[in-house]
Symmetry: none
Subunit: 214 residues, 4 copies
DNA sequence: AATGAATGAGCATTCATTCAT
DNA sequence: CATGAATGAATGCTCATTCAT
């Protein structure tokens, strides 16, 4: 039996351990969610214990999603809130930062590319709402910072962020096919390798932002 | 027992019937592939019969994907091969045509948004290669037309097409969440309704192409 | 792979085999339903095959219940429809027949004594309604025969049958405790052995019918 | 942390609180036993604390059973020991009293109708024996009172009581099915509503006792 | 005495594909 | 060619009880 986590901080450590184990398993896996048993074993805990910290398996991964995207939105704020610096430099810094972050957090786009409703279907409505609200809050704030920094009409920043995200996700999916890849554009000759993805994303985002702010 | 299809044309009709039934079921469904039983029943055939025309269930849907995207690439060619017309008009015509086509073929983005490898995992390598080759051929040709029409360096047209596609797919996924939606950017207040998706796509593509060709 | 049951009668045989295996397992078991795996194995079929014949595990046992009780109601009809014979003889014949039948079909009272809703909870509403309707039809007919034979007001026969059944089930439950038995009246000295149950039931029913028709 | 119960009376109060909470939960529930967690929470105690007062969860409910049935047997004694009053009046008084008591203690028949062995399986042999002995003592005494009052042969009173109980339990089970109910006799048209149960019981017991003492 | 974190066994059901008829 | 019966692997979650604190 694993040591008991009585103090609040110990519990948080347990939770973090589960999240970490889940992330590792997912990143090493084939694209689907690992099983609850696997997560428990990798956390060094019994299955039941995992369910003391998360209501469903999917909730674990929703947490990873949240944990991973919040820093991105935080970066948006700190970059665009800076009083000095050129507009184009800020944009470039954001794009660079995003690309780097996605490089270091492969689970983010992988989770976002799970089949439709994979996470949603097995979360309690309450947990789902909580995550959405937290996410939205950050997103709106980040969008607002862009609005101000670039003197855009209200809501435009969020719109651009969402299109940025769409592009990142869409491109990523095109890059995920192994030598068996099928999807549109995924011809042997045209396939994006995972490595090429980052450069591709950088370019595509640069193009998009250039067009959006033209 | 359904009538036997002896003549070649009868067989093609059978195949078309299966494809049509599969498309309808998928479009009406919840985002996952219908079961082989459902496809068979909707086709008015027995399960075993379906497997006389397709090697796996996934092959059926790969066919739908091919059938749906080829006309898009055909449209690229006819639009950009036209000797007259302004460059910006051609681009706009392409975007409009794409948006319309996607509106009329909801299965395309839905299929592209299935979980990772859903189709690939269950296709025979031969079938997979055949589809990829056919697809790539069309894509390269369409890209080449853009290269020439817009005086771009070779390969640039394909690149833009793939980014166009990525944006379409990424945005579409952001619009697919019902009131339970979770994924990034999917806040109650920010959710794209399916209807709004088409307008959103039009705008985003316009921005992207503007930036790409700036 | 078990031989394929293509003809209707072969399918009925399969179904009967499953029912028979399920009954045996249940009668030998500890009072709970056997697992679906056990039923399949005992039937000499794969798990999936069992589900070709029954929608849920519980439906199997609902069928056993129906199969077991219908003959009882049939016996009521044939006994009480007979034009000759004394009233008291008919009643005695019914009681004897019921006791014998329950002796030969231990699954009946065992199934009726499962916890609340065990069967109902896992049946499709359609299957549930179908069983109820069939059951009710037989019961009303049997009750009607009693009404006529004994010159009772309409509905009285059904009422007596239901009370008869209640007594049988209630007594049976008192007899089911092993040396660990707890329930009311189940003191070591007072415990009904399974064997004694039949005699106890005979007496109790005789008393009840005497009082009911006094 | 709840106050520590050091004095004997405090401990008894704790025990009573647990029993009361368990009864309420069970009566409000769906027919199954509440979880140990629920009982603890409703008692305002921690899970572990509950286990300081009862060895198993089932023991709690066995106590409720005992608490509920003892007064019935006490009533038998006081009614049948009375020197005056007519025999038929006493019987009627007993039946009325029983019906009223069951009306006020819905947990009694509900607990008795749990699946086979639900309580027994999870009690320590010692606890089980203790309950059985106490119960049997009361039952024998009550039965003896009936023997004397009605001039029956020894043991006949207990027998009638057990059959009375069997009828009550059997009828009750027939009344417990909601609109989904399946069990024998549970046809939509014939279903006993919970309300009708009490009247049904009164009538059926009257018939039974009439027949038993004829 | 009181707490509550940790444990881990147990199980129904779906569905793509095959191949005997 | 057409049929459809048979197959069987794969997995999340609950909850009574214990015992370290």
């Amino acid at each position: 039996m694993a040591q008991r986590a009585l103090a609040t901080e110990d519990k948080q450590a347990r939770q973090a351990a589960i999240l970490s184990a889940a992330r590792d398993l997912f990143n090493e896996g084939d694209g689907g969610l690992p099983t609850a048993s696997q997560v428990a074993a990798a956390s060094g805990l019994a299955k039941g214990t995992v369910y003391l910290y998360f209501q469903t398996k999917e909730e674990i991964f929703a947490n990873l999603l949240l944990e991973g995207w919040i820093p991105v939105m935080g970066a948006v704020e700190s970059i665009f809130r800076a009083t000095k610096g050129r507009r184009s430099d800020k944009i470039q810094a954001f794009i660079e930062g995003l690309v780097d972050h996605l490089d270091g957090h492969p689970e983010l786009l992988r989770l976002d590319s799970l089949g439709p409703g994979v996470l949603e279907k097995n979360m309690t409505p309450e947990a789902l709402r909580a995550y959405k609200l937290e996410f939205t809050g950050h997103l709106l704030q980040a969008g607002g910072c862009i609005d101000k920094a670039l003197h855009l009409e209200e809501g435009r920043g969020v719109q651009i962020l969402m299109r940025t995200y769409a592009l990142a996700r869409g491109l990523w999916q095109s890059a995920q096919h192994d030598e068996q890849g099928l999807s549109v554009g995924v011809a042997p000759a045209l396939m994006l390798t995972p490595d090429a993805y980052l450069e591709e994303l950088r370019e595509a985002l640069t193009e998009y932002w250039r067009g959006a702010l033209a």
